[in-house]
């Protein structure tokens, strides 16, 4: 921007409050975003981020006394239409696109709304869509069906659509949650392009590394209140976590030496064509073995084979000295292997069903009483034991598990598997969708389980997680094990450099 034409701030909101049923969801918050700035809105789930975004986009009306200014123009009240006209667009996590329509239609359909033109001009749709993608320096086949694209490209389509409606300020809600590292990098490049062309971006993300990399300032909310606005220069991940949670979280390497413990699981030359090659590893009782690598490195595929969901082409799985031939995951559970899936929403829990039912799902035989009928006494005892053992915060066990927060849901998943008394616990990205504050709680549980002698394979695409919480770290790349590290000897920067190389 030339210095002689300083544009007004994209947003100047002050004194914003919103009360729901007597609870202040947002309490006297100010929020300012400069024109073309990349700004981050950070805070744990329930801190008021979504409510604030909905007030800015006109979905909710704030309590009286709020000052609202968009691109230099003051508003007494904002409707969703006004917000859109003023150039504000939101890209929610679900993207709100049409899977069955083409890329061009998705990007440019708004130009065909209203009375004119009465007929849809596909030539014009193409033109508009191509122009929008060109502004992002991206190429996507305009005639591809949206549903056939990977999620990262759909996101770009959503951004292009916002540009078509002349957005000058784009909110992105957790845009990188389901992207691989290279896709994330591509998205961040698009965000930089937008910013360079004068479009401001407000980034909402749980991934702190990204937040610090892309944004120039970060606004932190906690319990509906403004903690402050901080420049990202010189801000560290741990400091940002402290600001978000209000507590100091220990960031020490937890690694211990478990070399004297008996070996529980040994894998020799395990191979499944196209997924992983020649994997050998050994896991001892009480050990937390970290496994990191990019998405697509074969980590989850390896877990699936160890859990009996898929058959290996070659190699041995030895549990407590005995060769395992797993024909299904039921065999794996019976042998003492438990698997916490990375996809808690679709695979980890049965969301509409109750907390109690989800807890006993894996141990129906344990709660079977006389005559082969389920015993509600045994069920209640099992449920309350694990709820208190793992300190799950719930209303009543009969509530749907979907009513719980991410962290508490993950505890229910752990309860379900610990009830099977496993010898080996496979944790596949156990903190996906879990608040920063609640992550520490999950890792405390992991550590306590290891102390009791459980052998744990901790898979994560966030290198710091395995660096801090594992006793040993394996790096998987292209389906093979590339490195083995001891976090007490190898530093985090070295690990990250190798993983993200």
């Amino acid at each position: 921007m030339p210095a002689d034409a300083v544009p007004p701030d994209a947003l100047r909101f002050s004194g914003i409050s919103k009360i729901f049923g007597g609870v202040k969801a947002v309490d006297d918050v100010s929020f300012t975003v400069g024109a073309g700035e990349v700004h981050c809105l950070a805070g744990e789930n329930g801190c008021g981020k979504s409510t604030l975004i909905k007030i800015i986009t006109g979905v909710y009306q704030p309590e009286p006394g709020a000052g609202m200014e968009i691109f230099g123009q003051a508003y007494a009240q904002i409707s969703p239409t006004q917000a859109r006209r003023a150039g504000i667009a939101v890209i929610w996590q679900d993207l709100a696109l049409f899977a069955e329509m083409t890329v061009a239609e998705n990007i440019a359909f708004e130009t065909m709304l209203g009375n004119r033109p009465r007929a849809v001009s596909y030539a014009r749709l193409h033109q508009v869509a191509a122009a929008a993608l060109a502004r992002l320096d991206v190429e996507i086949d305009l005639d591809a069906r949206l549903g056939s694209l990977p999620i990262a490209q759909r996101q770009i389509v959503a951004i292009a659509r916002a540009l078509v409606s002349d957005a000058r300020l784009i909110f992105m809600d957790e845009p990188t949650a389901s992207l691989t590292q290279s896709e994330t990098d591509a998205l961040l490049a698009v965000v930089r392009t937008l910013s360079a062309r004068g479009v401001a971006v407000v980034f909402v993300s749980h991934r702190l590394a990204e937040v610090l990399e892309i944004s120039s300032r970060v606004t932190v909310l906690r319990d509906g209140k403004l903690v402050g606005v901080f420049p990202t220069d010189g801000l560290t991940q741990s400091r940002l976590t402290e600001l978000m949670t209000g507590t100091v979280i220990a960031h020490d390497v937890m690694a211990r030496d478990t070399g004297d413990n008996p070996e529980v699981l040994r894998i020799e030359g395990l191979t499944r064509a196209g997924e992983f090659e020649d994997i050998s590893l050994s896991l001892r009782a009480g050990e937390v073995l970290g496994l990191t690598g990019l998405i697509g490195a074969g980590r989850t595929e390896l877990c699936h084979t160890l859990f009996g969901m898929t058959r290996p082409d070659r190699g041995r799985i030895v549990l407590n000295g005995q060769d395992l031939q797993l024909r299904s995951n039921r065999d794996a559970v019976a042998a003492g292997i438990a698997y916490v899936s990375e996809d808690r929403l679709a695979l980890g829990l049965i969301q509409p069903q109750s907390i109690a039912d989800n807890t006993v799902l894996s141990v129906l035989r344990q709660i079977t009483g006389a005559g082969g009928l389920l015993s509600s006494r045994k069920k209640d005892a099992t449920v309350s034991h694990w709820i208190s053992e793992l300190a799950v915060k719930i209303g009543t066990p009969a509530d749907a598990v979907s009513t719980l927060s991410g962290g508490n849901q993950q505890r229910v998943v752990l309860a379900k598997w610990l009830a099977t008394r496993p010898k080996v616990l496979l944790l596949d990205c156990p903190t996906v969708g879990v608040d920063v504050g609640a992550r520490a709680g999950i890792f405390r549980i992991v550590r306590a389980l290891a102390e009791k002698g459980l052998a744990i394979l901790l898979v994560s695409d966030e290198v710091p997680e395995v660096f801090l919480n594992a006793d040993r770290v394996l790096h998987m790349a292209g389906g093979r094990i590339a490195h083995e590290w001891d976090p007490r000897q190898t530093g985090l920067p070295e690990m990250e450099a190798a993983v993200y190389a």
Binding site: N329, L347, Q351, P352, Q353, L373, L374, T420
Partner: protein, 331 residues
């Protein structure tokens, strides 16, 4: 009143108090306006009519809770009835004794189970949608049945079989006893066994259920096999009530069973549903139809009222949900 509501909800599920309210309302309205409504004869006829529809509804209920559907219930029932009829015909027809009946019953239940097991296996291993699989089975059974009977009726069974369809024990109609026994068994199966637990979990999310170690394929096969067995029981009852079998007997009941399930609060998307509210819904439907009948209304009109009734219940449930949401927010 609210205390009673809560206790009923807690014990039998949130659907029961509302449905009981509906039942009382219907009884009062017809009691006032319809002559001969509150008589033993009327309730006796309700008690004889209910079980056929009831057994077929139970056969539909378990697949729906599992997130599926069984369109083949009517033809499975009649195919089982035909099986029994063939055996009876083979061993003397009108003069057939008890042994042919027992043999025929076993074979009929076997036919029902086989029809269900085949559907269940295709659904479990091929992954085809239950609506498609059961549609195929329905059309196959109809064609097969019409081929075997040349589209006509089979009749001429021993006179003592009328006891099953029309007799009473201690004043209670035999078909009603049969239905109540089956309903209690179904209730126990769905709420107190590992199978019933698995049915609900599969209905909500079959992949997550599989990841948690449930044997989803075996459960699916068992669901449709049990559904087929229940159809066979309904088929045997229908045979003894009409004293004849025809492939198309009771065709109109197919979607009424679905109506009864949804009235009884079964989740159309699977995962939730109980036997007791469905049984009460069945009683309400049957009482509605007999009341209208006494008022001199046409049979078709009572079908129309059933449809309105379902819409009414859906609106009331939506309203109740809206009110409780308001209360929750207001607090």
């Amino acid at each position: 009143m609210t205390g009673l509501y809560r206790r009923l909800s807690a014990a039998f599920g949130p659907e029961v108090p509302g449905l009981l309210g509906f039942l009382v309302l219907v009884l009062v309205v017809f009691g006032v306006f319809a002559p001969n409504f509150l008589t033993g004869a009327n309730f006796g006829s309700i008690a004889f009519q209910l079980p056929e529809l009831g057994l077929l509804t139970l056969a539909m209920l378990m697949p729906i809770i599992s997130g599926g559907f069984n369109l083949a219930i009517i033809y499975t029932a009649n195919m089982a009835g035909l099986t029994l009829a063939f055996v009876l015909k083979q061993y003397g027809g009108v003069d057939a004794g008890y042994w042919p009946f027992i043999l025929g019953t076993v074979l009929a239940i076997g036919v029902g189970a086989l029809s269900g097991a085949v559907m269940g296996a295709v659904i479990a291993y091929v992954g085809a949608h239950p609506i498609l699989v059961s549609l195929a089975m329905m059309i196959f059974l109809r064609g097969l049945g019409e081929f075997l009977t040349r589209g006509g009726d089979i009749s001429g069974f021993p006179a003592w079989m009328a006891t099953l369809g029309h007799g009473t024990v201690l004043g209670i109609p035999v078909p009603l006893i049969l239905f109540l026994v089956c309903a209690v068994l179904w209730h126990i199966l769905l709420t107190h066994t590992r199978h019933g637990f698995s049915v609900r979990m599969i209905g909500s999310n079959i992949r997550a259920a599989g990841y948690s170690g449930l044997h989803t394929r075996r459960t699916l096969i068992l669901i449709y096999t049990l559904s087929g067995i229940m159809c066979a029981i309904a088929g045997i009852l229908m045979l003894s009530r009409f004293n004849s079998v025809r492939v198309g007997h009771g065709e109109a009941l197919l979607l009424v069973t679905v109506l009864a399930c949804f009235l009884g609060g079964v989740d159309p998307f699977g995962g939730f549903g109980r036997v007791l509210p469905v049984v009460i819904a069945l009683i309400v439907l049957q009482v509605l139809s007999s009341g209208l009948n006494l008022l001199g209304a046409n049979q078709h009109l009572s079908t129309a009222v059933w449809g309105l009734f379902l819409v009414g219940v859906m609106i009331l449930r939506w309203g109740a949900g809206w009110i409780s949401e308001r209360r929750r927010r207001g607090r």
